[in-house]
């Protein structure tokens, strides 16, 4: 009574989401994406009359091949990673802190205020500056956080707009009340009396350990505490969190303040470890780069460590190439191409290409398999 007429299946390729992706495949796909981007950039450079291989070797040599280059990468990576972690912690609850740049400025501002106006032994003062930096970043995100938690106002807009306010505010202090009057050309504060100790006779200060410590603590907190569990549930589904009686609004507030505090920490480290003076150009868009880092890392703290370091290498390589005759604009374009390929690779790692075969009903007998593909509702 049953007629079996098997319809010939179309021989088309389909993307199918992977359920479990082995870690080495993820790494390989991302590497492949970056290599593809480099090949593309190389072809364009070649057409433009440059020697891509020579340039590439030079860039690689001077960034990763020397102790100086590596140290420069670590110094640049520090603020990128901290702002990256600031953005990543928000991402866990689907909150987008676009204002890490502003919070970085306010963290540096608060730390500078302490350094310029309070006197004390260096260790105490540096501790105070760290606390002030974190509080400065938190205060700068407080209003967006309250608006988001209690009035559901989009945090992307509010945090972003406050960045512009922050730059103007710091510039005002740097060229106004706090300006270094001993050197008339500078539009920055005088050199801070307290700075982070250096490591041996390297170019590195001890602030470079902070991102690593923060990444470890964040991972532990998210994976192994009640707080982290609540954050993960809220991030997964707000309605389930409400169903379970998790205080969603309070956690929105807490996570956003934490995000601001981390960005603020990057500000204090930058001003007390690297620039030593506060100015309106303290951040080279570190807060925005942090968004890129967090997105590339897909919100994972350890991923942020890796992505932040690689982005720092990329940016430094750009500086090297500029000394070889490439324009700034070309560098920005090259970085953009590499980051786009990396981002595509990130998504591509979650899929695999299958030739869709029509399953015969006989195969349906293996009842043990109860995985449901995403497309099945």
């Amino acid at each position: 009574m049953i007629t079996h007429t098997v319809i010939p299946s179309g021989r088309t390729w389909h993307f199918r989401r992977r359920v479990d992706v082995p870690i080495w495949i993820r790494i390989m796909i991302r590497l492949l994406a970056v290599i593809l981007a480099l090949v593309l950039v190389g072809i364009v450079l070649k057409l433009g009359g440059f020697a891509p291989l020579t340039l590439g070797r030079k860039a690689l040599q001077q960034t990763l091949g020397t102790a100086y280059g590596l140290q420069q990468a670590v110094i640049l990576a520090t603020p990128l990673i901290l702002t990256g972690l600031a953005v990543a912690v928000g991402m866990r609850m689907r909150l987008w802190n676009i204002g890490a740049d502003g919070q970085l400025y306010l963290g540096a501002f608060a730390a500078t205020a302490v350094a310029l106006h309070v006197k004390g032994p260096a260790p105490v003062m540096l501790s105070l500056m760290f606390i002030a930096g974190a509080i400065g970043g938190m205060l700068w995100i407080l209003i967006p956080a309250l608006l988001r938690a209690y009035w559901n106002l989009n945090e992307i807009i509010t945090t972003l707009l406050l960045n512009f306010v922050a730059v103007r505010l710091i510039t005002y202090y740097a060229i106004g009340p706090w300006r270094d009057t001993t050197a008339a050309i500078l539009s920055s504060t005088r050199r801070l009396p307290y700075e982070l100790p250096m490591i041996g006779n390297s170019y590195l200060h001890i602030g470079i350990f902070i991102p690593i410590i923060v990444a470890v603590l964040l991972t532990l907190a998210i994976q192994n505490t009640r707080w982290g569990y609540e954050v993960r549930v809220i991030g997964g589904s707000r309605s389930v969190a409400e169903f379970a009686g998790i205080p969603v609004l309070r956690q929105i507030l807490v996570v956003m303040l934490l995000s601001g505090a981390l960005a603020g920490l990057s500000g204090i480290i930058e001003v007390a470890g690297t620039t030593h003076r506060l100015s309106g150009t303290l951040s080279n868009s570190y807060g925005y780069m942090g968004i890129v880092v967090a997105a590339l890392a897909n919100g994972s703290p350890f991923g942020v460590l890796v992505a932040g370091f690689l982005l720092a290498v990329l940016l430094n390589a750009g500086i090297v190439l500029q000394t070889s005759g490439l324009s700034v604009n070309a560098m920005v374009a090259i970085n953009g191409v590499i980051l786009i390929f990396a981002a595509v690779g990130e998504i591509a790692a979650q899929y695999h290409l299958v030739r869709k075969a029509s399953d015969s009903p006989g195969e349906a007998g293996n009842q043990g398999q109860e995985h449901v593909e995403d497309e099945q509702v």
């Binding site: 007429t5 319809i7 179309g10 997964g236 399953d359 109860e370």
Partner: protein
């Protein structure tokens, strides 16, 4: 290939219609197979659809009705089988191809753009939409369509401003405007008031009279009897019978629909109900839209008792479940659990009082799809020892608790780290039911606990509820499936317009009276 776990103990019928008609079939489906991982949705189904008839596809949730019609409308491709339209073999790869072959489906969950007007939705993605349009042209064209098919909608109203009945008319118009000869309606009355449902049946009959073939997918017996010319009953992915409706009565259909073997497996321990667990007095609460959803509602449930709430969706059942778990504020009234007033308490206090909740929508309220089985299992435990250790979560205790839960509730999972969204609906519901019954030492509130599950999973969830009752807990069962309520409840309360319209012991219950009360007493039921 044919497994025979589902015996046809009911009068087995050939898959051919019992009364061969002289009119050739418009649509012939032959030997349709479709499997999804873990479940065979269609076991070699044969189905004929004719011009001028309203054909009811009757079956429980998960019987394979929607899958079959999704295959006909090009949403799914069958694993095997042929479809002929007017004798020609067709092979749809997309809904667009089915629409071109004049087959259209109105899905249970509408596919309308909320922010656009009715006219815009009808004209969206339609080949015959003129290149240059403005609201006036669209409104005029829509008016013409309304007149042609006798379905009225306000062309310039935005979808979100329309009632669900009106939205459904927009969907039907959209399908008809593409020239559909076969109109498939998936559970069309599940979102309608009784009045709107009557109106829809009139439309369906009129469309059939104009020579179209109308398919109504339903699990409600009354609808079959009220509107269809022919009825095909599906159970467990197979056709049980296909008959002319005039040869059927409610009793016969109910037997075909449910099948005997499932009833007997539920073991109900005869016991006297104990002391009251839940006492609700004069409870008032608002709906999301700010209207009074519960009006001076009174309820009592005792130990070892299942109280089934019957009613048409939207009469306050969802709000009642939410209020009884601290998820929705109470305006006035009392909620006593073991004589402790829990009005204005948080969800956590309800859990502490031993109240569990299998929510209406497991994927959006009960489980977090992107978290692991373990993480989902400990949702009610993460603040309590031994899973919680101070502010930390003891991951070893967490996975121990989760493994025990998975074991006890026979959830089949590849491993405990699997994301819950990769589990089948049945496994998700078993996990959720297991977690909530563990919490619900006193009272379990189960809302549509078997919705969308296949037959086996449905049976399993019902068994869990019954066992929980036998162990002395009180259960509030809210279901749109009257047969389910009649099957497992000790008492039945009918909810209408935010109130309990009537209460019966299940043994004394009268289906017709329940139906009458569900409709607010305003519609009279057809006699069986």
């Amino acid at each position: 290939m044919m497994d025979s776990t589902l015996s046809t103990d009911t009068p087995a019928e050939g898959t051919q219609p019992s009364e061969p008609s002289s009119i050739p079939a418009l649509v012939e489906m032959r030997g349709i197979w479709k499997h999804f991982p873990g479940v065979i949705a269609n076991h070699g189904i044969d189905l004929d659809l004719r011009n001028g008839e309203v054909h009811a596809l009757l079956g429980e949730n998960g019987a394979g009705k929607s899958t079959l019609m999704n295959i006909l409308s090009g949403m799914y491709q069958p694993d095997a089988g042929v479809i002929r339209i007017n004798g020609e073999v067709v092979n749809f790869r997309s809904p667009a191809q089915a629409i071109a072959a004049r087959i259209g489906m109105v899905h249970q969950h509408f596919r309308l753009v909320e922010m656009l007007t009715a006219a815009e939705n009808i004209h969206l993605g339609w080949e015959e939409t003129p290149l240059l349009v403005n609201p006036k042209i669209l409104a005029k064209r829509t008016k013409e369509l309304c007149n042609r098919y006798g379905l009225h909608v306000e062309p310039n109203a935005k979808i979100w401003q329309l009632s669900t009945g009106e939205q459904q008319r927009v969907e039907i118009l959209r399908v008809l405007s593409r020239g559909a000869l076969v109109l498939i309606l998936d559970e069309p009355t599940s979102v309608l008031t009784p009045g709107e449902a009557e109106e829809l049946f009139g439309v369906a009959r009129a469309l059939a009279a104009s020579g179209r073939s109308v398919v109504i997918i339903t699990h409600k017996l009354d609808e079959v009897l009220a509107v269809s010319d022919r009825v095909t009953v599906l159970r467990g992915g197979r056709i049980v019978a296909s008959r002319l409706t005039k040869e059927c009565n409610r009793h016969l259909l109910a037997n075909l629909l449910i099948g005997q073997e499932f009833v007997s497996r539920l073991h109900r321990v005869e016991r006297q109900p104990g002391k009251p667990v839940l006492e609700v007095h004069a409870l008032n609460a608002l709906s999301d839209r700010g209207l009074l959803a519960l009006q001076d509602l009174d309820l009592t449930i005792r130990e070892g008792e299942i109280l089934g709430i019957a009613g048409v969706a939207g009469n306050g059942q969802s709000e009642l479940a939410q209020v009884l778990n601290g998820l929705r504020p109470v305006i006035k009234g009392t909620i006593l659990v073991d004589s402790v007033d829990l009005v204005h308490s948080s969800p956590t206090s309800f859990v502490k009082a031993g109240v569990g909740h299998i929510p209406e929508n497991r994927t959006s309220m009960g489980l977090v799809g992107e978290l692991s089985v373990t993480d989902n299992a400990i949702l009610r435990e993460y603040k309590r020892a031994p899973v919680a250790r101070g502010l930390r979560i003891d991951s070893r205790e967490a996975s121990r608790f989760a493994s025990a839960l998975v074991e006890r509730s026979s959830v089949s999972v590849p491993n405990m780290k699997t994301q819950v969204r990769h589990l089948s609906g049945g496994n998700q519901q078993r996990l959720l039911a297991g977690r909530e019954t563990h919490v619900a030492s006193r009272l379990l509130i189960a809302v549509h606990p078997t919705q969308g599950l296949d037959v086996g999973a449905t049976e399993e969830v019902r068994r869990v509820l019954m066992e929980h009752r036998n162990n002395g807990s009180a259960i509030l069962l809210i279901s749109e499936d009257l047969d389910e309520i009649l099957l497992i409840s000790d008492r039945i309360a009918v909810m209408y317009n935010g109130r309990i319209a009537g209460e019966f012991d299940t043994v004394d219950s009268d289906r017709e009276l329940i139906g009458l009360l569900m409709g607010g007493g305003s519609i009279s039921k057809e006699g069986a």
